[in-house]
C-alpha cells in the first residue's frame, strides 16, 4: 500500500512580476524516487526551496505524512524530516566536514560530549551508506563529488526521511554520477524517499519510478517513468516536439587553420593552469574540449582569445605565427585576423547586461562601418541591423531597445552568438555555449554551430557538458590538471572512456 509522504496543494509563488509557481499540486509517495523535470527557469528549484522552508509560498498548503505543516524556516522542514542538497552546496569552505554537519544542531553550548557523540554517529552513518568521508578534512580540500556526499550526510544526520536533490549531477564526472546514483539507490532501499530535480532526461529514465514535469511555473503532468520515454518527456517540458539527436553531416575537413604549440598560462594567483598544451583544428571541424570545471579550460580559452597573457608557447593561424608571449595580440587584433570568441561567462565577459540589446549586438564591431562613422555611432543603422539579426537568430523578444538583462539566458546567449557568427570568423572559440540555456535554445545554438562548421570554420568547443561535447564534436580532447590527457576521434568513443580521462585516472 503506497502512502503519500509529501503533498503539495495549490502552491503559488511570485517574485515581483514573475509568477514562478502557479497552482502547483504534487504528491510524492513514501519510499519512491520521484523525478521533477523541467527546463531552466521552469520553477523546479523555487518549488523545492518552498518545500525546504527557504522561500515562503504566497499561498497553498504542504502536508507531510498527511499532517499539514507550517514552514517558517528550514528548521521547520528539517524537524519534519525534509533534507535538501542544493545545486550550490551550502557548506562553509574553511570548516571541517564535522563542523559543517553539526552546524545548527550542536546540541550543546560548549563543545564537549555531544561533539564526540556526533562523531560516532556520523561514522556509523558513513559506514551504513558507504559514503567514505573523513570527518576531519576541510571542505575546500575535497572534490566536488565528496562535497556533495557531505551534503547528503548532513541531511541524513539531521534526520531526513525525504531527500531533495537539486540538479545534483551538473558538476560531476560520469563516474561520480554513477557513485551518486549508487548511494541514492541504497538510501532508497533503506526506505528514504528521494526527490530528484533535473533537466536531464537520461537521469530521470535511469533512476526514478515516478516523474512530474514542470513548464513555465506550472505542473504539466505526472507519469510513471516506465510508462513514458525521453521524447515524450522532452515534448512535455518544451511544449512542442524537439529533436534530441542532431543532424550532422559527415565532416569534410580542410587544412589546419588554427594551431597552438606548447602553450603555458598562469592565473591571477600565479599558478600555472595550462601546461604545454598543443592543439590543431582544421577548417570545417569542431574540436571539443572536455573536462571537469577548473582544470585549466577557462584559462586556456582566455589565453587563446587574447584576454590572458601567455607565459610561453605560440599561436598559429593559417600556418603563420600570430601571437606568442613576446608579441601577444589583444582580443581586438585577434578579431581583425578572423578569430571570434563566445566567452564562458556570458554575463561577465560577453555582455554588458545593463545595456540595450542593440548595443550588445555590435560590441567589438561598433567602430566599423556602417555602425559608426568618424567615431559617431549611427544608431538608426545599428537598430535596423539588430532587427534583422535578431530575427535571423530567433532572439526573443525581438526588441532591440530592451535592456539585455531582461532577456532569458538562452536569448542572451543568442545575442552573443549572432554578434560573433555574423562576422563569419575563420576560427570560433566557444565556451559553455548552452550553460543555463533551455532545451529549445540549445537545439538552435547547436544547429548554428554545425552550420558554421559546414561553412568551413574551425571551432574550438569548451564545455563541461559531456553530452554536448559528444554530440557536436568531430574530435574530442580531454583536459585534466592543465594538460591535454587524451585526444580521440568522435567515433565509437563512450562517455565512460572520456570520464576516466576527465578524472585523470588513465
Amino acid at each position: 500500500m503506497v502512502s503519500p509522504i509529501l503533498e503539495l496543494k495549490n502552491i503559488n509563488k511570485s517574485f515581483g512580476h514573475v509568477h514562478a509557481n502557479k497552482n502547483i499540486n504534487l504528491t510524492i509517495n513514501k519510499g519512491t524516487i520521484h523525478g521533477i523535470i523541467g527546463e531552466n527557469g521552469a520553477g523546479k528549484s523555487t518549488l523545492m526551496s518552498i518545500v525546504f522552508g527557504l522561500y515562503k509560498a504566497n499561498s497553498g498548503t504542504i502536508k507531510v505524512n498527511g499532517k499539514e505543516i507550517n514552514l517558517r524556516s528550514p528548521k521547520d522542514s528539517i524537524v519534519n524530516g525534509i533534507g535538501m542538497v542544493h545545486q550550490h552546496f551550502m557548506l562553509v569552505e574553511n570548516f571541517t566536514v564535522l563542523e559543517n554537519i553539526i552546524l545548527g544542531f550542536e546540541g550543546e553550548l560548549v563543545f564537549g560530549k555531544n561533539f564526540v557523540k556526533a562523531k560516532k554517529d556520523l561514522k556509523n552513518l558513513c559506514d551504513t551508506y558507504k559514503l567514505n568521508i573523513d570527518l576531519n578534512s576541510i571542505i575546500s580540500d575535497l572534490s566536488v563529488g565528496f562535497r556533495q556526499r557531505v551534503e547528503i550526510l548532513k541531511s541524513l544526520y539531521r534526520g531526513a526521511e525525504i531527500l531533495i536533490l537539486d540538479e545534483p549531477t551538473g558538476v560531476l564526472t560520469p563516474q561520480e554520477v554513477d557513485e551518486l546514483f549508487k548511494i541514492l539507490r541504497s538510501l532508497n532501499e533503506e526506505g528514504k524517499t528521494i526527490v530528484l530535480i533535473t533537466h536531464k532526461l537520461i537521469e530521470i529514465m535511469d533512476l526514478t519510478s515516478q516523474v512530474s514535469v514542470m513548464r513555465q511555473g506550472e505542473m504539466v503532468g505526472h507519469i510513471k517513468t516506465k510508462d513514458t520515454n525521453k521524447e515524450q518527456l522532452a515534448e512535455m517540458m518544451v511544449g512542442r516536439s524537439v529533436l534530441l539527436r542532431l543532424d550532422k553531416s559527415e565532416v569534410k575537413t580542410g587544412d589546419v587553420v588554427f594551431k597552438v604549440e606548447d602553450l603555458t598560462v598562469k592565473d591571477d594567483l600565479d599558478v600555472t593552469r595550462v601546461k604545454n598544451v598543443n592543439l590543431e583544428i582544421c577548417a570545417g571541424e569542431i574540436l571539443g574540449l572536455a573536462g571537469v570545471t577548473g582544470n585549466g579550460q577557462t584559462e586556456l580559452l582566455e589565453a587563446l582569445s587574447g584576454i590572458r597573457k601567455v607565459e610561453s608557447g605560440e599561436i598559429y593561424l593559417d600556418g603563420k605565427k600570430i601571437s606568442d608571449s613576446q608579441n601577444f595580440l589583444n582580443p581586438r587584433e585577434l578579431k581583425e585576423k578572423g578569430l571570434a570568441h563566445v566567452p564562458e561567462d556570458r554575463q561577465r565577459m560577453g555582455l554588458v547586461t545593463d545595456f540595450k540589446a542593440y548595443e550588445n549586438l555590435i560590441f567589438g564591431y561598433h567602430d566599423q562601418q556602417p555602425f559608426s562613422k568618424s567615431s559617431i555611432l549611427n544608431n538608426k543603422d545599428i537598430i535596423s541591423h539588430s532587427k534583422t539579426i535578431m530575427e535571423e537568430y530567433d532572439v526573443r523578444p525581438q526588441s532591440p531597445n530592451l535592456i539585455t538583462s531582461n532577456f532569458s539566458g538562452g536569448n542572451q546567449q543568442k545575442i552573443i552568438l549572432s554578434r560573433e557568427l555574423n562576422e563569419k570568423p575563420k576560427v570560433l572559440l566557444v565556451g559553455q555555449p548552452t550553460r543555463g540555456v533551455d532545451i529549445g535554445a540549445i537545439e538552435f545554438i547547436h544547429q548554428r554551430l554545425i552550420d558554421m562548421r559546414d561553412r568551413g570554420a574551425a571551432i574550438l568547443l569548451v564545455s563541461v557538458e559531456l553530452d554536448e561535447v559528444l554530440s557536436l564534436s568531430d574530435r574530442i580532447a580531454v583536459m585534466f590538471d592543465g594538460k591535454i590527457v587524451g585526444e580521440k576521434e568522435n567515433k565509437n568513443v563512450t562517455d565512460r572512456e572520456l570520464g576516466l580521462l576527465m578524472a585523470g585516472v588513465v
Binding site: 517574485f15 525546504f52 522552508g53 527557504l54 522561500y55 524556516s73 528550514p74 528548521k75 521547520d76 528539517i78 535538501m84 542544493h86 550550490h88 551550502m90 557548506l91 562553509v92 569552505e93 574553511n94 570548516f95 563542523e99 559543517n100 553539526i102 552546524l103 545548527g104 544542531f105 550542536e106 550543546e108 553550548l109 560548549v110 563543545f111
Partner: protein, 323 residues
C-alpha cells in the same frame, strides 16, 4: 638598573596604551566574523568616551557611566545592523555615517550641556576609575626581577587594562569552542549554509553586533574615565581605525590581533619615550617623525608583511534570501 627600569616603564605603558585597541579589535572580530564590516569602531569608541564621562559626572559613579556607555554603543551597533543587515545598505557607508554623526553629536552636546565645545567637566576621584594596586605590590617592589615584573609592570593599572587582557582568551573560547562561535564564523563565511541549517542569519548578525557594542564601550570608558578625567573633542584619535588595522593584521583571530595591538601600543609607547631623547650616533629625532612611527608601521605592515589577509568570505555582503 637605569636601563631595566626604562624597559619596565616602556612595557608598562605598552600595556596601558594597547588597552583600548584590544577592546576595539575584539569588538571588531565579532562584527566582522559575522560578515558585517565595522569601520564605526572609531565613532562608537568616541561615543562611549563621551557617555561614560557625562554619565559618571551626573551620577557620581564611573560604573554607571560605563553602563550607560554600553547602552549607547549597543544602540549604535543596532543602528548599524538596522541599516546594513535588515535594510541591506552599504556597510561602509553606514559606518562612515555613524562616525561623522558621533563627532558632531558629542561636540554639540558638550557645548549645550557644559558651555564648552567638545569638553566635559573634569571628574573627581569618586567619578572616575583609579589605578589598581595589586596586593603586596609595595612590599615586593625591591625584590629583583620579580619586583620589576610584578610591581612595576603588572601592578598599578586601571581596571580596564586587566579586563582587556582577560577578554582575549574569553573571545578565543567563545569564537572557537562554543556552538555560538561556530555559527558566528559560519554566518560570516557562507550565510546560506547557516540559513539552510535552520538558523536565523539576521538574528546571528544582530547578536554579534550587540557583543561588539558591549566590548567597544569599555574602550571608550577607559579613555574618558580612567586614563583621562574628562572627555575632549575627538579623543579617540583614530584608535578605532588602528584597532581595525590590528584586527586585519591579526587575520580576524583574537590571539594574533592581540599581538598586533601590542605592537601598535609598543610603537606608541616608544615614540613617547623617544621624544627629546638624544640617541647615540643619530642625535635627537624630530618629534613629528617619531609621532608618525605607529602610523608608518601600520601602513608598512598592512602593505607588505602580513601576506594575504583572508577576510571572512561573506564580509560586506548583505544576506539576500530570495533573488
Amino acid at each position: 638598573m637605569e636601563f631595566l627600569s626604562d624597559i619596565a616603564s616602556l612595557i608598562n605603558s605598552t600595556l596601558r596604551i594597547s588597552t583600548p585597541l584590544v577592546f576595539a579589535a575584539m569588538a571588531g572580530i565579532f562584527a566582522e566574523r559575522s560578515g558585517v564590516i565595522d569601520f564605526s569602531l572609531e565613532g562608537k569608541m568616541l561615543m562611549a568616551a563621551f557617555v561614560a564621562a557625562v554619565g559618571s559626572y551626573f551620577l557620581g559613579n564611573p560604573w554607571l557611566g560605563l553602563f550607560l556607555a554600553i547602552i549607547a554603543c549597543v544602540s549604535l551597533s543596532m543602528l548599524h545592523g538596522f541599516a546594513s543587515v535588515t535594510y541591506k545598505g552599504d556597510q561602509v557607508v553606514s559606518c562612515v555615517a555613524i562616525n561623522i554623526l558621533i563627532i558632531g553629536l558629542t561636540t554639540a552636546l558638550a557645548a549645550a550641556w557644559f558651555g564648552q565645545a567638545g569638553l566635559t567637566p573634569t571628574l573627581n576621584e569618586d567619578q572616575r576609575f583609579l589605578e589598581v594596586n595589586l596586593p603586596f605590590a609595595k612590599s615586593l617592589k625591591d625584590v629583583p626581577i620579580i619586583g620589576t615584573i610584578y610591581s612595576d609592570i603588572l601592578s598599578g593599572h586601571y581596571i580596564f587594562v586587566y579586563l582587556a587582557y582577560l577578554t582575549v582568551p574569553l573571545v578565543f573560547w567563545v569564537v572557537f569552542k562554543t556552538s555560538f562561535g561556530l555559527r558566528l564564523r559560519a554566518v560570516g563565511e557562507n550565510p546560506s549554509a547557516v540559513d539552510t541549517a535552520g538558523i536565523n542569519v539576521f538574528a546571528m548578525r544582530y547578536k554579534a553586533l550587540a557583543i561588539n557594542g558591549v566590548l567597544i564601550a569599555f574602550a571608550g570608558a577607559h579613555l574618558s574615565t580612567a586614563v583621562n578625567a574628562n572627555f575632549f573633542r575627538e579623543m579617540s584619535a583614530g584608535r578605532g581605525y588602528l584597532a581595525l588595522a590590528a584586527m586585519i593584521f591579526g587575520k580576524w583571530h583574537p590571539k594574533t590581533a592581540l599581538v598586533a595591538c601590542l605592537l601598535f601600543g609598543f610603537t606608541d609607547a616608544l615614540q613617547i619615550r623617544l621624544q627629546g631623547v638624544e640617541l647615540p650616533a643619530i642625535g635627537e629625532i624630530p618629534v613629528q617623525l617619531i609621532q608618525a612611527l605607529p602610523y608608518v608601521l601600520t601602513v608598512v605592515l598592512l602593505a607588505g608583511f602580513v601576506g594575504k589577509a583572508i577576510a571572512p568570505n561573506a564580509i560586506g555582503q548583505p544576506y539576500i534570501k530570495e533573488r
